[in-house]
Amino acid sequence: MDLNEIVHKKGKTPDKLVGVLLEYQKTKNRNYLTNEDLKAVAKKTKLPESRVYSVATFYSLLSVKPRGKYVIQLCRDVPCYVNGAFNLREELETALQISMGETTKDGLFSLEYASCLGYCEMAPVMRIDQKIYGNLNSRKLAEIIAEYRRL
């Protein structure tokens, strides 16, 4: 969908801004919105650019910096933390050869922390795009990464 179609579907009144930005970002390869993208949204919704930028930089699911094709979000809050989330962080950093907050050179993976994802009964948990992975351990982690590499 291009921006016109998104605005047509979601609406272009100022209150539809968050939804439009989320949808628009989904169409981008690197999971982020450029200044030009934000400018285009500002024009369509007739909102000031400073307001669009304000919204785009406020919400965690939106990004104004390029990220990987697959954004791996690892939950670090208490229920996951006491179930070994930080060990998983080390393993992910090793497997992907990047630090938390970075993107792999091939642009495939970004590694981020997530605030509690709401799946604490299967802690530790991580999220990649729309999918939730729980009850993680080293083996499962490796399998999941491999699967994404194959895609």
Partner: protein, 577 residues
């Protein structure tokens, strides 16, 4: 009027229903400190400094956002309140560049004032501020992120009053900052340089760019002949910096002060304001007679010119080709004056004292040069900067004896002095145009319809049987309304529209003394019209010095010399951000 009875610090007080606790306390002499609160703006309640105890409520309530209710028992100074107030101020200081002694707002800063009043002797918290470079991209304004306390006053004035929304919060939580879209430099976004943000900022997060040192350099340079011009608005405002009532007319002291600073000649922008009326009045009449583009729009407010160039360039043909009084003066200072005193243009250093930050931008425009080499106006000092300069020089302003301006640019009229108020340019123009067209003397020269703080004002004048409709607008959000009216054809029967960038006109300018509210602006406006009434000559075309200038040099309005020196052109500066 319904009232409620409340208790503040054990004292009973009856106030009108709906009164904020802040104002109820003020009415009995209890002062509650505030930072983000501003009487002209929407309630923000984010600094939390004004939080007070309300009996029966577990948490403290902000006095700026809570209305008094029947039976409320309020404590504004309990131990709990004082500690919370101190902690919140200390928290702000812990993320603030605490270099008060070298700060532009030293002695004139709202945060500093509260810290002093609360008796803060240390910030118990580690200073965690991460030092950032200032944004000095704009010729008019400087943004200093290291001082920002995130109160949001600048955002509100830029969004609600000026309608530009250049600034907004970006990011979330502790990393959130006030900045232009995409974190761009001020000069790279469509800022009008009006400086309204700098007048409402409680600290030094956004300030005028200082040109004081350059002026000292010129004054101390024996090879330079330094001239200065003073804007109409300055003479009813600068007194505030020295403890006088807003609206006090201090023209004579202003002249004396400038002379004491060492300027070689002290002139008055009001002189060229009269000149502007001559040129612009005739330009209007020509357009009316010859079917030129109407309505004609005034051009003396550079914040407004910045706006129309960047947002509505397609309507530029409506704008008068007249330069502003500041620039007309500069053109004469370099193109006429030097010969009169036996000097060259490059010997002259011309300074202006303006209520305006956008004038700094205007002065450095490439078309505002004498023979394409020397700037007509070399430096612009805002009212605030002049006050600082006088203090630097140890000049006790309020004790000065009044003095007169120098010749040949010292004589002006009441029509010129009212340029500082919204509607003033229009009224001045009408006083002249009426007499030029009808050949009759105006009976009542007070066009009160165009005066006052209402956003858009209208008047109709009978000019020898022809009804001429005029409009006056101030603040850029109102300017936008006028632009849209013109675009949709709804303004086609107006001949002349005055647009001022700043609320209240120049007296409400971005370079004016701090603390301006709508009430205070009205006081400055009242002072302006009192100054007008006190002058012997009140119509621009009756100014003898103006008559002499035309007789000797310009020959006629819109003539060849005028065209070369006193008129200009504009640029399409529309870009996407």
């Amino acid at each position: 009027m319904e009232t409620v009875k409340i208790k503040i610090n054990n004292k009973e007080v009856e106030v009108e229903k709906g009164t904020l606790i802040l104002d109820a306390a003020k009415s009995i002499g209890v002062s509650i400190p505030t930072l983000c609160y501003h009487p002209d703006q929407e309630i923000k309640a984010n600094c939390r400094v004004c939080a007070v105890e309300v009996e029966g409520m577990k948490n403290l309530q902000t006095a700026c956002s809570t209305q008094a209710a029947e039976g409320m028992v309020i404590k504004t100074n309990s131990a709990k309140v004082r500690e919370a107030r101190k902690v919140n101020i200390e928290l702000l200081l812990a993320n603030h560049n605490m270099s008060c002694t070298t700060c532009i707002r030293n002695g004139n800063c709202e945060l500093q004032k509260i810290a002093a009043e609360l008796g803060i002797r240390e910030s118990r918290f580690d200073n965690i501020m991460v030092l950032q470079d200032k944004d000095e991209s704009s010729p008019s304004l400087v943004r200093n992120q290291n001082k920002c306390i995130k109160c949001g006053r600048c955002i509100q004035v830029c969004t609600n009053v000026q309608g530009l929304a250049i600034l907004d919060y970006a990011g979330r939580g502790h990393t959130s900052e006030v900045k232009p879209a995409y974190g761009m430099y001020l000069n790279d976004v469509r800022c009008a340089a009006c400086g309204q943000c700098s007048t409402v900022c409680p600290v030094a997060a956004i300030t005028e760019k200082e040109d004081i040192e350059r002026v000292w350099e010129a004054i101390n340079d024996p090879d330079k002949h330094v001239v200065v011009q003073t804007a109409p608005a300055v003479r009813v405002s600068i007194g505030e910096e020295f403890g006088m009532e807003p609206g006090s007319i201090v023209t004579g002291k202003l002249v004396a002060a400038l002379r004491a600073l060492g300027f070689d000649a002290v002139f008055d922008t009001d002189f060229t304001a009269d000149l502007t009326i001559m040129e612009e009045g005739h330009e209007l009449l020509r357009r009316i007679k010859k079917g030129g583009v109407l309505p004609m729009l005034t051009s003396c407010s550079p914040g407004w010119i910045n706006y129309i160039e960047q947002y509505y360039p397609e309507l530029l043909p409506h704008v008068s080709t007249c330069k502003s009084p500041q620039q007309m003066f500069g053109a004469l200072a370099k193109g006429y004056y030097p010969e009169k005193i036996g000097k060259e243009a490059e010997d002259i250093f011309s300074v202006s004292i303006m209520p305006c930050t956008a004038k700094k931008y205007e002065a450095q425009r490439s078309e505002m040069k004498h023979d394409k080499k020397h700037y007509d106006v070399d430096a612009v000092l805002t009212t605030r900067e002049l006050a600082r300069m006088l203090k630097q020089a140890g000049i006790a302003f309020d004790q000065l004896e009044e003095e007169e301006y120098d010749d040949p640019f010292g004589i002006s009229t009441g029509a010129a002095v009212i340029f500082g108020a919204t509607g003033g340019v229009m009224e001045a123009a009408l006083r002249t145009v009426y007499e030029v067209v009808t050949g009759e003397t105006l009976e009542n020269i007070n066009f009160t319809d165009v005066r006052g703080l209402e956003g858009i004002k209208e008047a109709a004048v009978d000019l020898a049987g022809q009804q001429v409709k005029v409009m006056v607008a101030h603040s850029l959000s109102k300017a936008k309304q006028v632009m849209e009216m013109i675009k949709s054809g709804k303004a086609s029967d107006y001949a002349f529209i005055e647009i001022m960038c700043c609320p209240g006109g120049c007296i409400g300018g971005g370079g004016q003394p701090y603390g301006a509210t709508n009430a205070l602006r009205q006081q400055r406006i009242d002072g302006t019209y009192r100054a007008d009434e006190a002058l012997a000559i009140r119509k621009s075309h009756e100014n003898p010095a103006i008559k002499k200038l035309y007789g000797e040099f310009l020959i006629e309005p819109l003539g060849e010399k005028s065209h070369h020196l006193l008129h200009t052109h504009y640029t399409n500066r529309k870009r996407s951000h």
